[in-house]
């Protein structure tokens, strides 16, 4: 009985913790094979299944973006590149591919309006959300650590004073950037146009007047949702309504 229990425990320990990981790895291999054989649509389907299984992985997003790009779906390619960018913002290949899609889409690039949004955007190009979080934490620990030393070791007060001041300033800096990014992303989440052409209307219904058009790969922010329509805002602050299914939030 005892030996049986040991065998069962050993078998249980040898099993992978999450059986879906094996499936995801297998799907990713199949997707890669399909891609190298030129069956890009199959590759898209397989990679998409991996993502739908809840895997949040930079390489998967990058490869899925590539597969979409090869099927000429610029919108969804950019969605996945931008998701990968959130995880590996300083990757040169990724930057190149994002620039390639942006150059090929119909809508011209528009500069962000607003200094806070520009700062948040600039930091996005260099730091992922978790890296900014980590930097915030490190400076927070630094500031708190020096504060504790300041309180407990009176002899080292000059050093700990400076240490806690520097830690505090850096913490305010990084936490402000993190806060700005969180507020902007939660209030106006980034989205990409995923259909060929979108008519941007004055109101949340097809009866309203079309103001302008956007095309696949157009980068927007979602300002408001109403039923099946979303109010979108362009970086230059132009606004209008589009059907929710025509865009995909990053």
């Amino acid at each position: 009985m005892k030996s049986l229990l040991i065998v069962l425990i050993t078998i249980a320990l040898l099993q992978p913790l999450d059986p879906s990981v094996n499936d995801a790895a297998m799907l990713a291999q199949q997707a890669e094979l399909a891609y190298t054989e030129g069956d890009f649509q199959l590759s898209v389907n397989k990679y998409q299944q991996v993502v739908d299984a809840g895997v949040w992985n930079a390489e998967i997003f990058f490869n899925l973006g590539n597969a979409y790009y090869q099927t000429h779906d610029l919108g969804r390619a950019l969605v996945n590149y931008r998701r990968a960018e959130q995880l590996i913002p300083r990757d040169d290949e990724l930057r190149l591919n994002i620039a390639r899609v942006r150059a090929q889409r119909i809508d011209p690039p528009v500069a962000e309006v607003g200094i806070l949004v520009q700062i948040a955007q600039w930091t996005t190009d260099w730091f992922s959300n978790s890296e900014i979080g980590l930097l915030t934490l490190m400076t927070w620990w630094l500031g708190c650590g020096f504060f504790v030393v300041y309180r407990l070791v009176p002899k080292s007060r000059t050093v700990s004073n400076w240490g806690s001041a520097i830690g505090g300033v850096l913490f305010v800096l990084f936490s402000s950037v993190a806060g700005m990014r969180i507020i902007i992303e939660y209030a106006h989440p980034s989205a990409i146009v995923i259909v060929e052409t979108v008519s941007v209307m004055t109101g949340p219904d097809a009866q309203y007047i079309e103001i302008f058009e956007l095309h696949a790969g157009g980068e927007i922010r979602v300002v408001q949702k109403r039923n099946d329509w979303v109010r979108i805002q362009l970086p230059d602050l132009r606004e209008g309504w589009v059907e929710a299914q025509e865009i995909e939030v990053i």
């Binding site: 999450d18 990981v21 995801a24 790895a25 990713a28 890669e32 891609y35 190298t36 991996v50 895997v55 949040w56 992985n57 930079a58 390489e59 998967i60 990058f62 490869n63 590539n66 790009y69 090869q70 995880l87 590996i88 290949e93 591919n97 390639r100 119909i106 809508d107 011209p108 992922s128 959300n129 978790s130 890296e131 979080g133 980590l134 934490l137 927070w140 620990w141 708190c144 650590g145 504060f147 504790v148 309180r151 407990l152 008519s199 004055t202 109101g203 009866q207 309203y208 007047i209 079309e210 103001i211 302008f212 058009e213």
Partner: protein
């Protein structure tokens, strides 16, 4: 006699009635004047426009008293796209024999949906003056019946309503394969130009349409808008390529018909890379993008999860709290020890004094001096540091001991110093340990009396 009195009474009543009538009449006239000094009226130039057709909403302020700084508060114009025009005229009118200055503020409106649309009232706020409190005058609302566009819309019609013209220029007539040609297109018109989608571009061409600037001008009371577009064309094949007309279909409300404006067909000479005008398909193949090797699907690509972040964020707060708590506990413990030390200072000193043999011994007085210094240190809960007389007295002063205690302490130090430095002086009446104990008790009591 009675009849005469009655007639006098009647005359008085008549006078009273006439006076009252005059007074009421004057008040009524005054009220009419006040009501008629300033008033506002709103109207539109077309009560049944088509969807997207420009109408002009006019808000007129009639002012007979020369207002200063009235503040216009326009309606929200729900159901309309609006372009503010501003003050379009300021005229003088004679109304019922009274001179009014009439200020007209205009807004161009474009109905966004068909049906009955009510334009909510606009108003004007008259600021507070010495003679009048802050007042708001609200105009009438205006009901507009917006008509749907008629059937038979041409293919590619995108909601343009009004009268439009179009101009186009190319930046070059000859270009190499893959090189861009930019067409500058300008659409002018009385319609909703600002909202106008880009015109229909020919299919089969690789091109991008960039929406450029918008400007507007007031002509004959209507907004005439101008929108620029830059159409960047990328010819894929060499040879003479004809760019078909770029058209804009619109509905002309004055003619109640759909019309069309467009550019003429344009020929572009597309050269191959060597500069020859030869029919040759261009290489349109796209780059084959390399995949990234997937390192670990198990591991998360995020450096830090949210739960870990929250945990790690609050840990230092706990650390700081623990440090402050520990410091506070240590201080409390020290305070208790200090209090105990202060309370037992006299008892300890008296016990030690009893053990000291004074006689003529210099050593005895040294011990006494030491005991006294320790007593002061215990009493003040400070570090014992071989204080001399001046130190002790200044310590007592700085710790705000009572004057009586300081005087008695001075006396005690003097006695001990005499024993220490002048042991042969026999007139010292306070040289026994009991005397010193008594004197120290006096000091302590004086301390307590503080």
């Amino acid at each position: 006699m009675i009849g005469k009195q009655d007639s006098i009474r009647n005359v008085f009543r008549l006078w009273l009635a006439i006076s009252l009538l005059v007074l009421v009449g004057a008040t009524l006239t005054y009220a009419q004047d006040v009501q008629g000094d300033v008033y506002v009226v709103a109207s539109v130039d077309n009560l049944s426009p088509y969807v997207g057709q420009q109408i002009i909403y006019s808000f007129r302020l009639y002012d007979a008293i020369g207002l200063t700084n009235p503040l216009y508060q326009p309606s929200d114009f729900e159901g309309f796209w609006r372009v503010d025009i501003g003050v379009v005229s300021q005229t003088s009118e004679d109304i019922n024999g009274r001179q009014y200055t009439v200020t007209t503020i205009a807004t161009a409106l474009y109905a966004t949906q068909p049906g009955e649309q009510s334009i909510q009232p606009s108003s004007v706020v008259l600021p507070e003056t010495v003679f009048r409190s802050k007042t708001s005058l609200t105009a009438n609302s205006v009901l507009v019946q917006v008509q749907s566009l008629p059937e038979g819309q041409p293919p590619g019609f995108n909601g343009a309503v009004g009268q439009f013209t179009m101009n186009a220029t190319l930046d070059r007539q000859s270009v190499s394969v893959g090189q861009p040609v930019t067409m500058s297109l300008t659409v002018n018109g009385t319609g909703n130009v600002e909202q106008l989608p880009p015109p229909i571009v020919p299919e089969g061409w690789r091109l991008t349409v960039n929406t450029g600037g918008y400007s507007s001008d007031l002509q004959n009371g209507l907004i005439v808008g101008s929108r620029d577009y830059q159409i960047v064309l990328f010819p894929a094949n060499s040879g003479v390529q004809e760019l078909p007309p770029i058209t804009l279909n619109y509905f002309d409300p004055s003619a109640m018909a759909f019309r069309s404006v467009g550019t003429s067909p344009i020929e572009i000479d597309v050269l191959d890379s060597s500069g020859n005008s030869v029919e040759q398909p261009a290489d349109t193949s796209e780059a084959f993008l390399k995949l990234k090797p997937i390192r670990d699907l198990n591991g998360s690509s995020t450096v830090l999860s949210i739960s870990a972040f929250i945990l790690l964020f609050f840990l230092p707060i706990l650390g700081v709290g623990a440090a402050i708590g520990w410091q506070w506990t240590r201080k409390k413990r020290r305070d208790v020890q200090d209090r105990l030390r202060q309370q037992q200072a006299l008892r300890v000193a008296l016990t030690q004094i009893k053990r000291v043999e004074l006689s003529d011994s210099r050593l005895g007085y040294e011990q006494m001096s030491h005991i006294l210094q320790k007593y002061v240190a215990d009493k003040l809960a400070v570090e014992f540091d071989n204080q001399n007389r001046v130190d002790i007295l200044s310590l007592l002063t700085s710790y705000e001991a009572s004057k009586s205690a300081i005087v008695k302490m001075n006396l005690l130090i003097q006695v001990i110093d005499e024993g220490l430095f002048a042991p042969t002086f026999k007139n010292n009446s306070l040289s026994s340990p009991d005397d010193i104990s008594r004197l120290l008790t006096d000091v302590d009591n004086a301390w307590m009396q503080k």
